[in-house]
Structures are given as structure tokens and as C-alpha cells.
């Protein structure tokens, strides 16, 4: 008997990371302040990319408080308050 096509033989579900969806709470309020520099203006996606001294990138978005994205320029210094667990910038202040 002819074998069925391979895609019918195999369950293609797979994972390279065993972490599963979490249901518990976390320290959402834990933040830190970082000094960053603007490295890219991406108005098409309503964001500005900034990088800290360790090479971490952060996205300033239209939801980021304290900063006008349109007023930033590449090379400008920005102090950000970011969440520790997920890299989200909550507030940002441009250094004049």
C-alpha cells in the first residue's frame, strides 16, 4: 500500500522552547532607569529606537509618556524608565 504524503503522516507541531504560557502574576511594576541614545527614527511604525550602553535596544512608541517622538533626532540622549522583565519603556525624557 502506498504511503500517504509526509505531511499527512506527521504532526508538525513542535517546539524548540519548552516554556509554556504562564498564568501567575509577576512584578509588572519593577522598573529601572537607563540612559540611551537615539539610533533610528521609524515614523512608519510610530517608534524611535534607542540603545543603552550595554547594547540593549528599546522602542519609544506613541504610548511612551514624557517624550514627543517627532522632536527626537539620531544621536540624541534619552533617559528611559523601562520594565525589568519585558523590555518596555514606560516613560522617557529627552536630554537637552
Amino acid at each position: 500500500m502506498a504511503e500517504p504524503p509526509m505531511y499527512l503522516q506527521t504532526n508538525y507541531a513542535f517546539s524548540v522552547n519548552s516554556r509554556r504560557e504562564q498564568t501567575g502574576s509577576e512584578d509588572a511594576g519593577e522598573t529601572r532607569r537607563v540612559s540611551t541614545v537615539v539610533v533610528a527614527l521609524i515614523p512608519e511604525y510610530h517608534q524611535v529606537k534607542v540603545r543603552d550602553g550595554d547594547g540593549h535596544l528599546y522602542a519609544l512608541t506613541r504610548k511612551t509618556q514624557g517624550v514627543d517622538l517627532a522632536a527626537l533626532h539620531e544621536g540624541q540622549q534619552v533617559v528611559c524608565t523601562v520594565t525589568r522583565k519585558l523590555p518596555r519603556v514606560l516613560t522617557a525624557t529627552a536630554v537637552v
Binding site: A13, V16, R20, E26, E44, K49, H56, K85
Partner: protein, 178 residues
């Protein structure tokens, strides 16, 4: 075909490499990455955003950003579904990943940018020259504020990086007969 009932709008779809030279080349380049995360997921060669109804938005060579059926991928290639699910991220923001992705329909794809990003790991995404993972990363950041390429080990984003990204969780895939 997949049971879409467990999928949510804004889920990230990772597609196993295609069985051709391009697929093997992408896998090989990711396997050679300095990033252990990207190496761990190197079997994946494409990333897309699920927008509901069995449809995804993705950036593909020769087409650019477009909407198509996930069935175009999963009938011949393995897929993985991953999700940004964290209590700190509002559900509405995650749903916006799908909404915002569709707003970029028609934007171009760039092979050059994909190559440059592999040669220069610190490269920042260029909207005029997207590839699949760039689209996913920019749209996720726009909708949720989360930069999936924040950690230097995740720069630049590749499909393999998203496949093993520690901030994303796996969605169990169930399959049903046609």
C-alpha cells in the same frame, strides 16, 4: 489542518524552513549565528503574524507585506505558534498586533536588508527594506511597546530568534482531519 480555535489574533507564526536551497541557506546562516537563541530556533525560516480566520500577514520575497492563508505554509511545512502573553501587557495591545500588521500591507521586502542584518548584527530595522522578522518585531513594538530585539543576543531578529525567544510562549498546536 490546524485547529484555529486556540489561536489568537496577534500570535506569531514561525514556519519550518522550506526544502530548497533558500531554506537550507537561511537555516545554515542562523545555525552559524553568534546568538544561542537564534541557533536554537534555526530550523525556522519564516515569521508571520496571525490575524484570525486562518490568515496571516507576512513579508515575503517577491511579494512584500501581504495577507495570505496560513494553510499555504502548514500543508507542506512545520509551523510553530508563539504568543506574547504576559499579565503586564493588556489584551487589547496584543490584539492590536494583528490590526497594525494589516496596515502595512503592500510594503516592500528586501533581500539586501536581510543579508545586511546577518553581516552586521547591530543593524536597526529599516521600514523601507523589510524582511519577515523585521515586520514582526516592528509591529509588536508598535502595538505593545515590547522590543523583542532588546537583548543584544536577539539582534537582529530572525525567525530562529523568535522561535526560541524567552519572552514568547508556545501555543500547543492541535490538528484535525480535513
Amino acid at each position: 489542518m490546524p485547529n484555529f480555535s486556540d489561536w489568537r489574533e496577534g500570535d506569531i507564526i514561525l514556519v519550518h524552513r522550506s526544502p530548497n536551497a533558500i531554506g537550507y541557506a537561511i537555516q545554515a546562516s542562523q545555525a552559524a549565528s553568534l546568538s544561542a537563541v537564534t541557533r536554537a530556533g534555526c530550523i525556522c525560516s519564516h515569521a508571520a503574524i496571525y490575524i484570525g480566520g486562518g490568515m496571516v500577514v507576512d513579508a515575503t520575497f517577491g511579494v512584500g507585506v501581504s495577507t495570505q492563508s496560513v494553510w499555504n505554509y502548514c500543508q507542506t511545512r512545520a509551523i510553530q505558534v508563539r504568543r506574547l502573553s504576559d499579565p503586564a501587557i493588556p489584551i487589547a495591545d496584543i490584539a492590536n498586533i494583528s490590526v497594525f500588521a494589516q496596515q502595512h500591507d503592500g510594503e516592500p521586502y528586501s533581500v539586501i536588508q536581510a543579508i545586511i542584518s546577518k553581516l552586521f548584527p547591530g543593524t536597526v530595522p529599516i521600514p523601507d527594506a523589510l524582511y519577515c522578522s523585521t515586520l514582526v518585531g516592528l509591529v509588536v513594538a508598535d502595538a505593545t511597546g515590547v522590543d523583542l530585539s532588546s537583548d543584544p543576543a536577539h539582534q537582529p531578529l530572525h525567525p530562529g530568534t523568535l522561535a526560541a525567544h524567552p519572552d514568547l510562549t508556545d501555543v500547543l498546536l492541535e490538528w484535525r482531519n480535513l
